[in-house]
Symmetry: C2
Subunit: 337 residues, 2 copies
């Protein structure tokens, strides 16, 4: 399987059921982008400029990996139920879609804020100028905040649960997981560690433990892994997964998240700026410690492959069908952007 620089996939398809993975990803991406368009606020509900800025950030394409993972996890759980039916899978997607959109909004918020001059100072993202380059830092901060707030409003608001208290309860569990994944214990804690370890916080320092392999793994688990885990488990929960199924999908997604970040580090060394749609070679230039820098390229590739093997094991142990989850895992490691 090969992933092209526009995010489309050319693959020796692994067929699962009646639909190829390429078709599956394309179809889900269309649904997700339509749903995102529906949920983003517009005037007169909100001022025109902030609405435009939020849409610019969300509309810049991207792989939509996280929301596709949400839907694929819902799919697998619904397929594992007995009796399984196509209608049940459709219903699971419907219930998981707000979470899928919320996770993508949150991912987009994190890119907008990470790209700011006060953070990673990136001027290009997905082949276009970053938000702050166009609208200035102030509006970019606000638009990022808006994406984060909208994600939670969306999780709370979708009114498709009248008279179904179990859906209300699932939503609340999803929101708790997503909130934890985003917060100081998760994604933004990882970004804070990154700022510290690259010397971009100059004021009252805490003594930092040395950036050894465990700390690097912890930083990556927070920065990338936490939201990918929340994406997958949200889909599973909304589809009515058992606690054992949620745990298995959580373990699966944790491994995928690690592999994703290792591959990100490798692509920064090996990829071209054109393929990546952002500046390659940036990690080294900014003094970031990465998997290739710490373990070498070959060992990093092995570690990503090991993660994928453990991800598969997690599904098998819980007697979950793989569905398209393992195709997503392979996509993560074989991508070029």
């Amino acid at each position: 399987m090969t992933v092209h620089d526009n995010g489309t996939i050319m693959t020796t398809d692994t067929h699962t059921g009646s639909e190829s993975f390429t078709d599956y990803v394309s179809a889900r991406r269309v649904e997700i982008e339509a749903a995102l368009d529906r949920v983003l606020p517009r005037p007169p509900v909100c001022p025109a400029l902030v609405a435009e800025a939020m849409r610019y950030a969300v509309g810049s394409g991207g792989k939509r990996l996280r929301p596709i993972l949400t839907l694929a996890a819902a799919d697998v759980v619904a397929s594992a139920a007995r009796p399984a039916s196509a209608a049940a899978v459709q219903e699971a997607w419907l219930q998981a879609m707000p979470a899928a959109c919320a996770v993508e909004l949150i991912h987009t918020y994190s890119l907008v804020h990470d790209d700011l001059p006060a953070m990673d100072n990136d001027n290009m993202r997905r082949g276009r100028p970053t938000l702050h380059v166009i609208y200035g830092d102030g509006l970019a901060i606000l638009a990022g905040d808006g994406l984060l707030a909208e994600a939670f409003a969306l999780l709370a608001h979708e009114p498709c649960d009248a008279g179904r208290p179990q859906l209300t309860e699932r939503k609340l569990r999803v929101m708790g997981r997503v909130g934890q994944a985003v917060g100081a214990g998760g994604m933004l804690g990882g970004q804070a560690m990154d700022l510290e370890y690259t010397g971009r916080i100059t004021a009252p320092h805490h003594p930092l433990p040395p950036l050894d392999a465990d700390t690097l793994r912890d930083m990556h688990a927070r920065k990338t892994g936490a939201l990918i885990r929340a994406a997958a488990t949200s889909g599973a929960i909304m589809a009515g997964a058992t606690p054992a199924q949620v745990n298995a999908i959580d373990a699966f997604a944790g491994e995928i998240g690690l592999a994703f970040q290792i591959v990100d580090d490798i692509l920064d060394v090996q990829g071209s700026s054109v393929d990546l749609g952002k500046t390659a070679g940036k990690d080294r230039a900014t003094g970031k410690v990465t998997y290739p820098a710490m373990h070498g390229l070959d060992r990093s590739r092995e570690m990503a492959a090991d993660s994928i093997a453990r991800a598969e094991h997690a599904l098998v142990s819980a007697v979950l069908p793989s569905g398209h989850l393992m195709n997503i895992a392979r996509w993560v490691v074989e991508r070029r952007c």
Copy 2:
């Protein structure tokens, strides 16, 4: 009643039941600050520096007006129920406390981001250096994000609803309201308007309608009113308010929010930096259009008083007891900081 510069209140007390308003505010403030301390993340759950930055922002005192309003609204709704009991009021507070904390975390996040150089560029807040002055812009952005994320995680997570589906459903309604209040349609939309009208967004402008009295009111309703309304209605909802009661408290809080912002504008003209704990005269220096600038000081004072009268009318119309809500309304207009 007089509010001193440290936020304490000297008042010709209006007694309601057995407790004076001064005692009520002091007691609620202690409870709220203890709860905030419990819910803020700490190492090893999150990196030490971001935890410290979040605590610095939240721990800087302040009036705690919004969470006190949440608890007072819960109180009024519980007192209006028949049969009312002290135990029912206590239970309403307990259920409303996560929402009270969440609203204060969100208010604090908004101050941290608004103070950034890319926004209002304030170096002092509540008599202390602002967060970005100490930790740099990058960590201040992240700590603000963290407060926002933590607020939603908190709303979702408090586990005091086992087996009580109506509480789960109330929480979800609260989260939806809070999410809308924070988002592009609410608070941060208002801040975006503020940036636009003071010429701090230089890139692709939308034609702005002239900043007339209606637009100024709309901007204030978003910037200040939306979260104050969400604070009050959250308390009411968690206490089991009827739709009519929620609407009345929403109308009450909308008026309080407007009065609050008018008084803020007046204090910026008339207050001293020492009293305010932040730079006075800033609105004029940055070219902000304010109530005194548009309507004059005397008329602005009248407008604030009119709002308070309408706030009282909203409660009376819904046959709600005033409880301490009208004391809070008077506090809002009579404060000095």
